[in-house]
Amino acid sequence: MNLEGKQQIWKDYQKEIADDRYFYARSCIRQTFFPGSEWAYLDIMKNKLAKDVIDDPRHTTCTGIGYHSDIVPAETIMTVVARHFALMTEAGYENMTPSCITSFGIYTEILETWHHHPEVEEKIREFLWKATKREFKKPRNLAHTSDIIYKFRNEIAAQAKYKLVDVHTGRPLRGVDHIGCHYSKMFPTKGIGGAEFPAVLSGMIYAWGGDVIDYPERRHCCGFGFRQYLVMANRGYSVANSKKKFESMQPYEPDFIVANCPGCAMFMDKWQYTISEMEGTTYGQDGYGIPVLTYEELTALVLGYDPWEIGLQMHQVSVEPLLDKMGISYNPEAKFKNIRGEDIGVPKCPTYLRV
């Protein structure tokens, strides 16, 4: 891949991302999937980058999963989102930063809808007032939290304790970047680098010393699609999509996968176990899987956070091969202990996938 050719296309357009004072919108599912990611993000923002971020406990789900499953009507989700904007306004903030890609897509879609149909916005304002007696200003800036990390990738590199380099060979680690469909496929200009070759995650990998794999199914959906995983009978389709990606990336021998969508990271991690049980196939080296990280987890590792403190023991695919390559020291004994040192239980060993 000629990276310069790619960069040339987007050189005239750069997404605007606010510098500071962010209203943080948590994901409804990420804390279950990756329990340390959102904590790590807030800690990095506040204590490493000295940024002002407000995490309002009154914030709720955006109802995006229900909306995309045709359960929640458009007017309902707009009113829920309007309430989020009202919380942001009441707190005195103007920069909305959702943690979830679906929420980011929902916010973007709603703001675009209101831009083109102001009468809809008026109606939603009326609904919100009737339901909650709240009013709101629209965000001055909307950015996904991966955009924020991308914006400060060089500052993070300056504080990095570890690089994305194999300490044993000096080789840059090969990363697969996987972008959530709702990040820029709906509104290409709202993502960094557009929809075809988004730079948001690859930019982080390059900044921290790694290399990015450009493989044929790079842009293919992970298979998370709400209608696929919500209906159990459809989950084979979801697995098939992930399998297609794994088979396409495997010849490039990736050291890790990084994703910015809750579903992508979750399914690309868990489906590796599923495929191994179904077919006996594994995609990493020596029977391991390919470690799958959220961008916050990757950032935290680079900055020297303890792998178990950021919840990497909750991953299905073992991250130890990646930690060893990066030269990160960790205590294997502490993997399944809580912060009080108590045993939290060890998961059952898969049949084929090495852990």
Binding site: M1, N2, G5, K6, Q8, E196, P216, R219, P251
Partner: protein
């Protein structure tokens, strides 16, 4: 003696200059490049008769050797003004000043920048080329991948930058379909053992001999036509292109590996046309080309009295239509000059 200033020395400008000069009108022909011919200089053979583009270009150039035609190569007009007497004053980049009774805009088209269709990988993947670059390969009688190998399977992608809302081009560029057919046949002649596929939306065979050529491509040259638009291309470890297309006749998605992919790039309004429109206050059509006063009866007239348009400055057209349009513009200008 009446004088006409022609901006743009492509086929339309050359042909109009020749026609006007033959009618005794003085012509100042301004061309920004150091030779006339415009985009025709980039073509190897013409459709449907496979005539050498160079031969036609030579004829057009020879026609300019006329005592009534003054050629200004490597020149660009600066600010154009119309004075109180209705004369057009055109200062050129070398400081000289032209004065004419009428102005003909024949600033042609520009080739769509294929990089804007990122998902096709032009400028990113080494074996993705444009139809213009393929013409250059035909000149050298050598079709090779970047690694020097002969491609075993080639895909020709129609409508790149045309009829595409994503790149804000709703218009049809008209000549890509037949260009694709012609180039597929030329490829077959050079590479008898290579598989050649054309991926199209519609085959718009509007010109004389076009439909026959399309049929011949299938029956005689074994070109495979697949109705479906390319969704994306990616590169594998062997630098081949993995493409995804929906075969809309079969109703199934299709994935294929190609050694070389050729993008049939469409036409867009040229920078020159836009500059002229801006300078002279010419109306533009929604597709960005210069708008004619009337598409049927006053197709060479613009909204500004005394300013005419010919060729692809007003719309995408093939070479046959471009030359006919230039002759039509010459007639309209002569009528105008008689009237003033």
């Amino acid at each position: 003696m009446a004088k006409v200033i022609i901006i743009g020395g492509g086929p339309a400008g050359c042909e109009a200059a020749h026609q006007l000069a033959n009618q005794g009108i003085d012509v100042e022909l301004v061309e920004k490049n150091n030779e006339t011919g415009g985009n025709l200089n980039n073509w190897y053979q013409l459709f449907p008769d496979r005539k050498s583009a160079k031969d036609l270009n030579d004829i057009l150039k020879q026609n300019l050797n006329h005592p009534k035609i003054q050629l200004h190569l490597g020149m660009e007009p600066r600010k154009i003004e119309k004075n109180k007497e209705g004369k057009f004053l055109v200062p050129l980049s070398d400081g000289s000043l032209l004065e004419g009774d009428s102005l003909l805009i024949s600033t042609g088209f520009k080739i769509f920048d294929a990089r804007r269709k990122e998902e096709y990988g032009y400028g990113i993947y080494e074996n993705v080329i444009t139809s213009v670059e393929l013409e250059n390969m035909f000149y050298n009688h050598s079709i090779q991948m970047v690694n020097g190998n002969t491609p075993k399977r080639i895909g020709i992608i129609h409508c790149v930058g045309s009829r595409d809302e994503k790149v804000c081009n709703y218009h049809c560029s008209k000549l890509c379909c037949i260009t694709g057919v012609k180039q597929a046949i030329e490829l077959r002649e050079l590479l008898p053992d290579t598989e050649i596929f054309c991926f199209y939306m519609d085959m718009r065979m509007f010109g004389p001999g076009y439909e026959e050529m399309y049929r011949e491509a299938q029956e005689k040259y074994n070109i495979k036509f697949v109705r479906g638009r390319l969704s994306e291309a990616a590169e594998n470890l062997n630098k081949q292109l993995q493409i995804k297309v929906e075969d809309t006749l079969v109703g199934k998605p299709l994935r294929m590996t190609l050694d070389m992919m050729i993008l049939l790039v469409g036409m867009e309004s040229s920078e020159g046309s836009r500059q002229m429109a801006d300078t002279l206050g010419l109306n533009l059509a929604p597709n960005g080309f210069i708008k004619s006063q009337d598409p049927h009866y006053r197709n060479n007239n613009t909204n500004v009295e005394g300013v005419f348009v010919a060729g692809c400055g007003s719309a995408p057209m093939n070479l046959t239509d471009t030359l006919a349009d230039a002759r039509s513009a010459a007639m309209s200008i002569m009528e105008y000059i008689k009237r003033i």
